[in-house]
C-alpha cells in the first residue's frame, strides 16, 4: 500500500489529506467534482506524477466529465486474481465455460482473459482452466445469449443487472431452462450491488443460484456474495474500515499507479472476522 508521501504525488489526494495524514474518504461525487475542475487530466488527479500507465479504463459510472482509471501490468494481474478467487468460491471446474452478458469493456469481462485486454498475463478464466465467451451487453442480443447457452453450455454466467430481464424473457421464449445446465449466475451493477430480494427473485425465475457482485470500478473493487453468510467477502487485496458516518471505506492494496485509498462505498456494515466458509475474510453487508 502507498505511503502518504507517495499519495501526495497524486493531486487528487494531495488536496484531500486529513490531519491524520490520511486522505479524507471520497466517493464518485468527489472524483467528478475534481475532474470538473481540471478536464485536461483524464484520471482526475489520481495517477502518480510522471507515470504513464499501460492500461486505462473509462469508468462507466461517470459520464460528464469522463474519468479514467489506470493500471500497470502487475496490478492488472492482481485484479484478475480477485476475480479468480471470487469465481472459485462459487465453484468452477477446469474445462468448463463461463459466459458473459455484459459490455466487453466491463472489468468483469476484461479480467477474464489475456485475450480481452493487453498486458494481462493470465486472466481469471485462464487461471481456472475455463473457456470464456462474451456476448455484447445490449438487450437486443438476449436471443444470442440464449444461443450461447444452448451451444456452448457454459456452467457459469455473468449478467449485467439491466439485462437480466431481457435474458430471462428470451430464455422463456426459447423454452431453454438453465436449471439443469448452469451452476450459478452472477449479477452485477455498474456501481454498487443488486439488492438481495431482486437477486432472489431472479434466482427463482431462472431456477439457478444467483450470486450478487459488489462493484466499484473507481476503486477497483469487485467482491462476491458468500454462499454461506450472503455477505460480500472482501478479497485480501482490499482493506475495509468503518467510518464515523456509518459508511464503509475501501482501500485497494494493489492499486499503485492510480491509488484507491479510502473509497467510500456508502452505508454498509463491516463485519470483521469471516464466516465458516472463509474465517479470515473481511465481510460487508449492504
Amino acid at each position: 500500500m502507498l505511503s502518504s508521501r507517495n499519495l501526495a504525488e497524486c493531486r487528487f489526494y494531495r488536496e484531500r489529506m486529513g490531519a491524520d495524514a490520511r486522505p479524507i474518504p471520497w466517493g464518485l461525487a468527489e472524483l467528478e467534482a475534481f475532474a470538473a475542475i481540471d478536464s485536461s487530466d483524464p484520471f482526475a488527479g489520481r495517477v502518480r506524477r510522471g507515470l504513464a500507465p499501460k492500461v486505462s479504463l473509462q469508468l462507466e459510472a461517470t459520464a460528464d466529465p469522463s474519468i479514467w482509471i489506470a493500471l500497470d501490468p502487475p496490478e492488472l494481474d492482481r485484479w484478475a486474481g480477485v476475480v479468480e478467487r471470487m469465481w472459485k468460491r462459487w465453484g468452477t471446474v477446469p474445462g468448463e465455460a463461463i459466459a458473459f452478458f455484459d459490455y466487453g469493456s466491463s472489468p468483469l469481462v476484461l479480467l477474464a482473459s489475456s485475450g480481452y485486454v493487453g498486458y494481462l498475463r493470465r486472466g481469471a478464466a485462464e487461471r481456472l482452466g475455463l473457456t470464456a465467451i462474451c456476448n455484447d451487453g445490449v438487450a437486443a442480443m438476449a436471443g444470442r445469449m440464449v444461443s450461447i447457452v444452448e451451444a456452448l453450455e457454459p456452467s457459469m454466467l455473468i449478467v449485467r443487472r439491466d439485462l437480466a430481464r431481457p435474458f430471462s424473457l428470451a430464455l422463456e421464449a426459447a423454452g431453454t431452462k438453465l436449471a439443469d445446465r448452469v451452476r450459478w449466475v452472477a449479477i452485477s451493477e455498474v456501481e454498487g450491488c443488486t439488492n438481495r430480494r431482486e437477486a432472489d427473485q431472479l434466482s427463482a425465475r431462472l431456477g439457478v443460484t444467483v450470486w450478487r457482485i459488489l462493484r466499484s470500478d473507481a476503486a477497483f473493487l469487485i467482491a462476491g456474495e458468500c454462499a454461506g453468510c450472503r455477505a460480500f467477502h472482501l478479497d485480501s487485496a482490499y482493506f475495509a474500515e468503518t467510518l464515523s458516518t456509518g459508511h464503509v471505506a475501501i482501500t485497494t492494496r494493489f492499486a499503485e499507479a492510480c491509488p484507491a485509498v479510502r473509497f467510500d462505498i456508502g452505508l454498509a456494515r463491516l463485519i470483521n472476522g469471516g464466516c465458516a466458509l472463509e474465517p479470515r475474510a473481511q465481510r460487508v453487508e449492504c
Binding site: 483524464p42 504513464a52 500507465p53 499501460k54 492500461v55 486505462s56 479504463l57 473509462q58 469508468l59 462507466e60 459520464a63 466529465p65 469522463s66 479514467w68 477446469p94 474445462g95 468448463e96 465455460a97 458473459f100 459490455y103 466487453g104 469493456s105 469481462v109 476484461l110 477474464a112 482473459s113 489475456s114 485475450g115 480481452y116 485486454v117 493487453g118 498486458y119 494481462l120 478464466a125 485462464e126 482452466g129 475455463l130 473457456t131 470464456a132 465467451i133 462474451c134 456476448n135 455484447d136 451487453g137 445490449v138 444470442r144 444461443s147 450461447i148 444452448e150 451451444a151 456452448l152 453450455e153
Partner: protein
C-alpha cells in the same frame, strides 16, 4: 519514416518475391491441410468425399482439390454431429480449455470461433503486420475498438503489446449512443492511429459536433484512420479524408473466420496478410479462379495451425483479386471486397451490389461522396432503383435530380431518389437494402 512509395517491411516475409511467397504459402497450406485431415472430422469427411488427401498437396494449384466450405456447411455439421460445435477446432498446441470464443453472426445463423492462446500469439503477430502496413507504430495509445465478443478483440491486446502501445478501453459498446465516450477517449489520449468501424466514424463526429468539438480538434494528431466493417468506395475514402482532415485513411477487411487484408499507401486494393490467410477469387458458377479484376466469390484459407481452422472458406463476400506487382513492394496479391452476395440484386440488365450504386452515385455527382443511402426493396420489386439518401445537405434538390438522371443513364433503369432525415444505423452501419417501412423506423 514511411517512404512515400514503398511500404516499410514489417519483417522478412514482406521482403519475399511473389513467387517465393507462393512457395511459402504452399508449405503453410500443406501443413494446415494435413492438420485438418489428421485432427478435424469436419475436414477429414469432406476431403474423403472429394477424393483429396493432403499428401497430394504440392503447389498452390493443389488447393483447388479441397472442397469449398460455407457457413451453411458448418451449421449443417453442427446439426448432423449432435455436438453443438462443428469439428473445426484445432488443438495443435495441445488440449487447451483456456480458450476464448467469439461469435460470427449472420443471416444464416451464428457460429462460434475458438481462439486458443497459440492462435492469439500467431494471429496477433500477423495482425501486427497488418496494422504496421496501415501505419501503426510504437508508442501511440491504442483505443480498443471492439467489444470482447468480436474476434478483433482477441487480437487487439497482442497488437498493443507487440508495439508497446498503451491500451485505452472505452466503456460501453460500439453503438452510436456510446460515441460520446469515444470522443472523450480521443480527446484525452490523442492517438496517432485510430481504428474504427465505418459507421462509428460518423456517429463519433456527430457526438463531437453536439459537444461543440470540431472535426479538426477531434482528429488533431491522428495520422492514420483505419476503417473496417464495410467496404469503402474511393469517394468514401476521400470524403473521410475531407471531413476528418486525417492524411491517411486506410481500409482493413477482415472476418472472424481469418480473412485479413489491408491496403497500403497506394490504396489500390487490400494486400492479403500472408501469415493469416491465402485468398482466392472464384467464379460463382464454376468454382474456378477468375482472371484478375473479374468479380467473384472471395474464398480464403487460414494458414494458422491453431484455433478454429477455415480451409477454402467462402464467407459470402464478393470481390476481385489483383496479382500484379504493387508499387509499394509488398509481395502479396491485393483483393477488394465489394459487399456480400446476399445483397446482390438484378435490375434491368444490371446485376449490382450496393457498392456499385454508391460508386456510381459519387462518380455522377461528386458532391454526394460519402452519402448514406438505402436501396428500397419495393423499388427493386417494381424494376425501379429507388434510393433513400440521408441528409444530402444544401442544394439537395438539384443534386438529387442530377444524381437521378446520371444513374438512370448509367444503368438504363428508372431511378427515384428521395432525401430522408435519417436512416437506421445498426452495428455494421446502415443496411444497404431495406423496405420503406424498415428505413422509416429510424425517423
Amino acid at each position: 519514416m514511411l517512404s512515400p512509395a514503398r511500404t516499410e517491411a514489417f519483417d522478412d516475409l514482406d521482403r519475399l518475391s511473389s513467387a517465393s511467397l507462393d512457395r511459402w504459402w504452399a508449405r503453410k497450406l500443406k501443413r494446415v491441410a494435413r492438420l485438418g485431415f489428421d485432427e478435424l472430422p469436419f475436414y477429414r469427411e469432406r476431403f474423403a468425399a472429394a477424393g483429396f488427401h493432403p499428401t497430394q498437396f504440392r503447389t498452390l494449384d493443389d488447393l483447388h482439390a479441397i472442397p469449398v466450405s460455407k457457413k451453411e456447411d458448418l451449421l449443417a455439421a453442427v446439426q448432423n454431429s449432435g455436438s453443438k460445435l462443428p469439428g473445426i477446432k484445432s488443438y495443435t498446441a495441445g488440449p487447451d480449455a483456456r480458450m476464448t470464443v467469439s461469435l460470427s453472426s449472420g443471416t444464416s445463423g451464428t457460429t462460434f470461433v475458438m481462439h486458443t492462446r497459440r492462435w492469439r500469439q500467431l494471429q496477433g503477430y500477423s495482425s501486427s503486420r497488418a496494422h504496421w502496413w496501415a501505419g501503426l507504430r510504437p508508442g501511440t495509445p491504442l483505443i480498443m475498438s471492439a467489444p470482447a465478443w468480436h474476434a478483433y478483440a482477441s487480437i487487439q491486446p497482442s497488437i498493443a503489446m507487440h508495439f508497446n502501445n498503451p491500451c485505452v478501453v472505452v466503456s460501453g459498446t460500439f453503438l452510436p449512443r456510446f460515441a460520446d465516450r469515444i470522443v472523450d477517449a480521443i480527446l484525452a489520449f490523442r492517438p496517432r492511429f485510430l481504428t474504427m468501424f465505418l459507421p462509428m466514424v460518423f456517429s463519433t463526429m456527430a457526438a463531437a459536433r453536439r459537444d461543440g468539438t470540431s472535426a479538426d480538434r477531434l482528429f488533431a494528431g491522428v495520422e492514420t484512420l483505419v476503417v473496417t466493417g464495410a467496404p469503402i468506395t474511393p469517394g468514401m475514402r476521400s470524403h473521410l479524408q475531407d471531413i476528418t482532415r486525417v492524411k491517411r485513411v486506410a481500409e482493413i477487411a477482415g472476418s472472424s473466420e481469418n480473412l485479413l487484408a489491408v491496403d497500403c499507401i497506394h490504396a489500390q486494393g487490400l494486400h492479403v496478410v500472408p501469415d493469416t490467410c491465402y485468398a482466392e477469387v472464384l467464379d460463382r458458377t464454376t468454382g474456378r479462379p477468375v482472371p484478375d479484376g473479374q468479380r467473384g466469390s472471395v474464398v480464403h484459407s487460414s494458414v494458422i495451425p491453431a484455433g478454429s481452422l477455415y480451409l477454402r472458406y467462402d464467407g459470402g463476400d464478393a470481390g476481385v483479386i489483383d496479382r500484379s506487382p504493387c508499387p509499394c513492394g509488398l509481395p502479396s496479391p491485393r483483393i477488394k471486397l465489394f459487399g456480400r452476395w446476399e445483397d446482390c440484386f438484378t435490375i434491368g440488365d444490371n446485376t449490382l451490389l450496393p457498392y456499385d450504386v454508391q460508386f456510381a452515385l459519387e462518380t455522377e455527382v461528386p458532391e454526394l461522396r460519402g452519402a448514406a443511402l438505402v436501396i428500397t426493396r419495393e423499388g427493386l420489386a417494381n424494376g425501379i432503383l429507388r434510393l433513400l439518401l440521408a441528409e444530402p445537405g444544401r442544394s439537395a434538390a438539384s443534386l438529387l435530380e442530377e444524381a437521378r438522371a446520371g444513374l438512370a443513364r448509367r444503368f438504363e433503369v428508372p431511378v427515384e431518389i428521395s432525401a430522408v432525415r435519417d436512416l437506421p444505423l445498426r452495428f455494421k452501419g446502415v443496411p444497404p437494402i431495406l423496405s420503406e417501412r424498415e428505413a422509416a423506423s429510424a425517423a
